[in-house]
Symmetry: C2
Subunit: 230 residues, 2 copies
Amino acid sequence: MGLPNIRVSVDAVVFGYDSKEGLSVLLIKRKVAPFKGEWALPGGLVKEDESLETAVHRELEEETGITVNYLEQLYTFGTPGRDPRNRVVTVAYYGLVRQSEFDVYAATDAADAKWFHIDDTPKLAFDHEQILAAATKRLRGKLSYEPIGFELLDEKFRFSDLYHLYQTIYNPTGEKKIDRRNFKKKFLQLGILEELPEKVSEGRGRPGALFKFDKEKYFALKERGMLFQV
Amino acid sequence: MGLPNIRVSVDAVVFGYDSKEGLSVLLIKRKVAPFKGEWALPGGLVKEDESLETAVHRELEEETGITVNYLEQLYTFGTPGRDPRNRVVTVAYYGLVRQSEFDVYAATDAADAKWFHIDDTPKLAFDHEQILAAATKRLRGKLSYEPIGFELLDEKFRFSDLYHLYQTIYNPTGEKKIDRRNFKKKFLQLGILEELPEKVSEGRGRPGALFKFDKEKYFALKERGMLFQV
DNA sequence: GCAAAAGTGTTCCTTTTACACCCATGC
DNA sequence: GCATGGGTGTAAAAGGAACACTTTTGC
């Protein structure tokens, strides 16, 4: 009985948020077989001496040029046959970024790389649609027991940006449901927001105050795990 | 640049519950190097044509003789150096069983196999202490947003068994905290318990009614995810 | 009769929900 | 002046927490 020939890869589901465009996911167009020319999650084989996390960051850099500072392990997919050529077990990660901060470009290892709105993704290679679905589900779940926002919003943001973020992720179909006042009350009670004296207008309507996260409290709360039902 | 030489293994953290002994974990004594003679989590290399889940079940059978019907993926550990000889990425699973149902024995692939009380585990091989810690944390967390019990209790059980289960897992140090009446009220409200006409005495004290889970509702609730704060 | 476990309701408090009007600005 | 988004409070309802005595059995 010879040693099993199994390869290990990593894949990344990077979510980008933008107040105008909502929630997107970063995809690449494959440059090599299998599935050459099709869209897929960025990712690739892990090298023998690098950690899984290092591998994800490296692959993201090589394929899309972006650097993500928040990545979390999602799930490991290993069904035989998920890669048509070899047995490949892939460790999937998901991450969150402010979409506006990143110029995405097809770096050396991909034919193309771009953001797709979460409700308008193309057919994906391998079992990547399954991975994407798992990540989306996890993101939604996470929202209700951990503060999310720091990674997705600009340093200073209007309260309505935060509100729309939650609204978007919870309620992708767009029927308004979350009560603005109750949401604000609840969120402010967490004590992780700092209201700035500056006000900013969006072009029309009354200008709103800017807020920023109190990083210490934010991460403390995140560590401890909070419960936040919308 | 040659292909990376990485192996893939699975490890299982199997928790057993017994109303008398509380929460235990199943460990094996390693029969082969490295760490020969030391205690470790059951597990081993994945074969090229089997799924990860199949591999866990197979290894459990080969090393401890038990069959677990509830196993869930926990996390994948892949730091280089976690196995002293080769690069091994391990996918950890955790599961729950009724301890009383299983005769554990050292099957062919282990020198010994037994249950250890969760607060009295030996030093473990590899990074298995870290894996065990992660599993314990996850189990506690899970308890508060999913019904747990079906997998850990006999088919028919007294309400106090369920109560002690939660008490044990939440509150390992044993200072009583959960209010019996409130716990019962809340749990019954979930609508997943069926009260049987039979009563049973524990030898002393007033006999209590037996309950069983309404499987359909139980698993439905589990799918949807419930929120249950104790 | 006493030790051990099971059964049972009410009150208070906290949290959550529902809900509508005025304000500041750009055009 | 009107359209657009920002800001704000209260009342009713639901859910959670605290709490103690009685019942049934074995010995």
